[in-house]
Symmetry: C2
Amino acid sequence: MNRKLGIYIAMSLDGYIAKQDDDISFLTDVEQEGEDYGYSKFIETIDAVILGRKTYDKILAMGIDWPYGDRKVFVLTRTPKPDSGNIQFCSGNLPELISTLKSQKGKNIYCDGGAETIHQLLQEDLIDELTISIIPVLLGDGIRLFKGGLQEQKLQLINVKSFEKGLVQMHYVR
Amino acid sequence: MNRKLGIYIAMSLDGYIAKQDDDISFLTDVEQEGEDYGYSKFIETIDAVILGRKTYDKILAMGIDWPYGDRKVFVLTRTPKPDSGNIQFCSGNLPELISTLKSQKGKNIYCDGGAETIHQLLQEDLIDELTISIIPVLLGDGIRLFKGGLQEQKLQLINVKSFEKGLVQMHYVR
């Protein structure tokens, strides 16, 4: 089994992952005690995380516990910085980085955003698995998960699950 | 029970209902003998159809059998034209038309597009039911079902169904 690169992300029915000002409060509508929508099971299959620099900064600014445990984290940035613990700052070629990671042994690789980084990965057809949770809302406007300007990519539906709060989670492979 | 206004439409996972040139050949990927994805059952609940003028012209140009039987069809147009059989050309106020139709007795009302007409209806918060089929493909670019610039609208998931060809159909009410 090769290492797969996947995304695991929620969007509104109209395709937004946040409002224009990064507001993600629409996600609270589906919060439910004891229901993590498969996240803890998913993250167990992961030992490397890809993040865009802005998303990395946002996580730091949120003041929450570091969400990736001791997993290796690769932050894509135009400004090279020395590594820091498990965090590696990468300013090189993205397809090369992914190709290197996929050639190494390990669990799967998770791109946790942002939309710009996911777009770059889709542009290079590097994403193998997509777990998309659709929140029962039309946000009306905001930051799109899929911003357009890509080549067509056929997907295979592996699984679909619906939840009490109206969230529908679909798992596709490329 | 009041008459409901609904849409019943397919889009790619990235939210497109057609490519930029109106190409909808991605729908053939989910064509299957004997499987109509609930359409014939849905259309039985309908006795009035709303169409944008461009969509109406497109249907005529396709040279197919008239798809709405003897249902009343309301074509939204800026250029008034005399009625023709069951087809009424409407150049007045859209919310007023819908309000009039909803106040009349009858089965439900179906807006069969295009995206611009659906957008206008969403803008006025006039759509009561959304049946959205997600085709397992990233089209990459094209005509969006939800083009943005709307107010937030919470939805309630009523049903979700997946099919052999990987289509996922979700039924929401406003």
